[in-house]
Symmetry: C2
Subunit: 272 residues, 2 copies
């Protein structure tokens, strides 16, 4: 059972995990270095625990103590009860979800480990927007993608905003980083995956014609909003696929494009 | 050719169309009542004009005058050049896109008029989040949906945030309001459309099995994020369809779900 500790001083060092949460640059350096990430709100905290992450501590507004009572009773980590004002002074924003938890990161699996059991994987290149990373994980979970592989320059799926937008899907969809980019795509291919690069390029084939849901193993490659996949990533792919689009409009945003592509890869739709 | 007028006084009544842009409640009442909407940023302003909307006036930071020179030369509306400080005092925020235009609304077409030429329409019920409305229009445009019908309680597609998120797709995808809800769905059905209600309900059929891309005329009904379609809307539908989802996760967000459903409805058919 957790110890419930009331803290009135925002400078108390026990609240160190929660300082300056709105300083994205600081937090994206600090959190991986210190082996922690922040889960925000009751639902996300419960999902992190359910997925096996260990809690370092929890920070609650007093009125959330009852709601989180069962969690408090179960975890050995200290629970800090603070006023909304202290929470805001520590974190830098009004914590309207009332509950924050500092969770212990786990070592990421190797890509080859993930690929052993997977049939449908997402490969993201240089997606460095936390909202987009979160949105892609949420859709990947909902549509049954088995794993995510990230190029070295993708943003951190465990950053607070990514976790929130993903609705906790970053905990349930396993992911790994590819160290050598794009060279490590070769490993993916060797495991029997067909590398499909999603691109609006006119030379790409319509994804509904390619019918990737009939393929044994598919690795679907996605680039960042705007730029898309790099030339070297496109060159490393086995095949280019595009979502058939109407003329004269901007492409889908990366979240919508990913959702459509995951559907095309996973659903057993008979093609006309 | 527009008159270029420098204004230093944020209280100048000629800037009346642009006041308090961050006050959502005020603007959502004022704009339809006064027959205007606000287009923000060079790209969106150009798209509004390209789609035939008349300009009432434009408000520019001085450094945007050169970029917008061709528009200034073409439109008869007055163009107000202001400093970034005056722009912020008038609008209530830092206008980092540097250009705002007040555009004249047009009367909406009747639903029956839109339906005459359409084969794929979206019907939204109670989608009152401006971001979601914009996202749905963007995907509808990209994936070739022909028109959008809105229940009486849907938010305004021409609200600034909807316009921005849609990347201007609210100008290119024609839309109408249904006055009687859900009774006017009967009109849609009488025009030969099959009413498909998108719902995560277990009693719905998988959309890939239903194969709506083979149907002659489809009206795809979407509800708001969270609540989904109301019971009376579900009852009024011809058939319930669902996107096949993995277990144990929250459903797709409404933007992603809409994109997948539009793809399922439009792909595989020869685009006109």
């Amino acid at each position: 059972m957790a110890e419930l500790i009331t803290i009135d001083d925002p400078a108390d060092p026990r609240l160190g995990d929660y300082t300056c949460l709105t300083d994205v640059e600081l937090r994206r350096r600090r959190e991986p270095a210190e082996g922690l990430f922040i889960a925000e709100g009751e639902k996300v905290i419960r999902r992190a625990r359910y997925s096996g992450y260990q809690m370092r501590s929890m920070l609650l507004s007093a009125k959330w103590v009852d709601t989180m009572r069962d969690v408090i009773d179960e975890v050995p980590a200290p629970v800090y009860a603070v006023s909304p004002e202290v929470a805001e002074q520590v974190t830098g924003y009004h914590v309207h979800r009332g509950a924050l938890a500092s969770m212990e990161r786990r070592p990421l699996p190797d890509a080859s480990e993930l690929l052993a059991d997977a049939r449908r994987v997402v490969v993201m290149e240089a997606v460095n927007d936390h909202t987009n990373i979160g949105a892609v994980f949420r859709s990947a979970a909902a549509l049954g993608m088995d794993a995510v592989l990230l190029s070295p320059d993708c943003a951190d799926p465990l950053y607070r905003r990514s976790v929130k937008v993903s609705m906790g899907a970053v905990f349930s969809v396993p992911y790994a980083r590819l160290e050598q980019w794009p060279r490590d795509l070769e490993t993916v291919r060797e495991r029997g995956f067909r590398l499909l690069a999603l691109t609006p390029d006119a030379k790409a084939e319509d994804i509904d014609v390619v019918a990737p849901h009939r393929m044994e193993r598919v690795a679907l490659m996605l680039g960042a909003e705007g730029e898309g996949l790099s030339t070297r990533a496109l060159v490393a792919a086995d095949q280019w696929v595009r979502i058939p689009m109407a003329h004269g409009v901007d492409s889908l945003n990366v979240g919508a494009a990913a959702a459509v592509a995951f559907y095309a890869v996973t659903a057993g739709r008979p093609v006309a």
